[in-house]
């Protein structure tokens, strides 16, 4: 009971800092979390890809962003890996060609990595206790989605010769808006609702891999 009380009072600094005597190592649970995140992302991402398609795997409202960014904040490198891999499957089911999906991997990896990095770097509280935490999440979401929105139409779709120069803005805004709006709808609520539980589990990742 005493431990529970102490843990509930954890500060944002303590959440991300390995305490003296605390042993953290990569375990089977992290591998399992990676697989489960890919699984959730597969289903949730495919929902967005099938329901709100703009074309070539770009969506007006991509629900997978929640798994990508919240998963990476909680589970560090495992969440980033899952965030980079699962869109490949969810896009495939939704009818995106194999090599186009493959070329989206860097965009998806950055979208997952940036919020995770920002929370660790600036010691933001994943339970979103202050306005600063909200602001860090929001900025990380916007910047990471902006990178994805620029990479995918400009590098991938133009590279494959699928878009004209004039139609690129539609896809940039489609990707950006689809991710940021879905992020605003889901990320804040998910972090607020579940972070308090997740940070107490052995699966939670303080550094990058453990």
């Amino acid at each position: 009971m005493a431990t529970a009380v102490k843990k509930s009072e954890m500060t944002a600094e303590e959440i991300w800092t390995v305490q003296p005597g605390e042993r953290r190592s990569v375990g089977v649970i992290h591998i399992v979390i990676l697989a489960l995140l890919i699984g959730i992302g597969f289903v949730v991402g495919a929902f967005g890809s099938i329901s709100f398609p703009l074309g070539f795997g770009v969506n007006f409202f991509w629900t997978g962003i929640a798994v990508q960014q919240v998963g990476a904040i909680w589970f560090g490198g495992w969440g980033v890996l899952a965030g980079a891999i699962f869109p490949f499957f969810s896009n495939a089911i939704a009818g995106t060609p194999f090599y186009v999906s493959l070329a989206y991997v860097p965009a998806n990896a950055v979208q997952a990595f940036l919020p995770a990095w920002a929370f660790r770097k600036f010691k933001a509280d994943p339970r979103l206790k202050s306005g600063r935490d909200y602001l860090i999440l929001f900025i990380a979401m916007v910047v990471s989605s902006a990178f994805g929105a620029l990479w995918s139409p400009l590098v991938v779709l133009r590279g494959f010769g699928l878009l004209t120069t004039e139609s690129v803005p539609l896809f940039i805004w489609g990707w950006f808006g689809g991710n940021v709006i879905a992020g605003i709808v889901f990320n804040f609520i998910l972090l607020k609702a579940l972070s308090a539980v997740v940070i107490r589990t052995p699966a939670f990742v303080k550094r990058w891999w453990s």
């Binding site: 190592s25 089977v28 398609p53 074309g55 919240v70």
Partner: protein, 286 residues
């Protein structure tokens, strides 16, 4: 019937005579074909060939219905982005005017080229997903000596996707039983309320993660340290061996790709100015 990643295929389907790696190889190589072909009739030919393969493999063609809206919406977006959003170009030939927007022949042609490139790429993916079971993908990965942990994560991910889908239905039914009903509500409302599924889904997955981990640890699985270095007997792979027809198919796919590269890059055989279909369409529209 065998349950594949996208549907069901009869056990007697000829596709199960083929080693899973050949199917993966087919996906990896044939997906590249349309990228080297500009003439729409050749890409259409590839699409017909793939549909024929699906039919021969006794795939339930009704599963393809979910891709009809995808194909239509993708076609519409391509057409819009190349015509209405394609900008104004004095150097192009105008073939029509729609609500003040000039429709150029060059843009229309490019839209067709892109659309007919995308369709066979999608069909190749659908063919792979329709004929491959979870086990096939694992066997294909292990037969190219992918590390055990990679294939294991992949297998777990595919299995957990099925579980998440099941959990999703359970959560939805539980919420419906408590009077939550989105029927007739606006799309914005449905999107907002979708989070009511996401939170339980995440919570259930976290609980499952612990159950999975305990089960794996109890069975002596470890992905790091000394225990991870022990060579494991691969039971699944013992059920699959390459037969002569597998080698022939790999050779045929490789040769087809080689010929395609030569015809495309060497002779320019698939270029637009050699396309009969494009010439015919140009005559009609001009």
């Amino acid at each position: 019937m065998n349950k594949t990643l996208l549907g069901y295929v009869p056990k007697e389907s000829p596709i199960y005579e083929v080693h899973p790696f050949v199917k993966l190889f087919f996906l990896l190589v044939v997906s590249l074909f349309p990228l080297f072909v500009a003439a729409p009739e050749w890409n259409f030919g590839l699409l017909v060939f793939l549909l024929l393969l699906m039919f021969l493999c006794r795939i339930d063609m009704r599963t393809l219905r979910i891709y009809v809206p995808v194909a239509i919406s993708m076609g519409s977006i391509i057409l819009l982005s190349y015509t209405v959003l394609g900008g104004r170009h004095a150097e192009f030939q105008v073939v029509a005017n729609v609500f003040g927007f000039p429709i150029y022949w060059e843009r229309l042609r490019d839209a067709l080229v892109v659309y007919f490139r995308i369709l066979p790429m999608i069909a190749t993916m659908v063919f792979f997903l329709s004929t491959s079971r979870e086990r096939d993908v694992i066997v294909a990965m292990r037969s190219i000596k992918m590390p055990f942990v990679v294939t294991y994560v992949f297998a777990m991910a595919l299995r957990s996707a099925g579980m998440v889908l099941e959990d999703f239905h359970i959560v939805r039914q539980a919420e419906q039983a408590r009077g939550f009903d989105t029927t007739g509500k606006s799309l914005a409302y449905k999107i907002r309320k979708y989070v009511m599924y996401m939170i339980p889904l995440f919570a259930l997955s976290l609980r499952r993660a612990e159950e999975f981990t305990n089960a794996l640890v109890a069975r002596g699985y470890s992905f790091t340290g000394k225990a991870a270095k022990i060579k494991r007997a691969d039971y699944v792979l013992t059920h699959y061996s390459y037969k002569i027809h597998d080698y022939i198919l790999i050779l045929l796919i490789t040769a087809a790709f080689g010929v395609l590269l030569y015809l495309s890059l060497g002779l320019g055989f698939f270029e637009l100015d050699k396309s009969q279909f494009i010439q015919w369409l140009h005559q009609i529209l001009s």
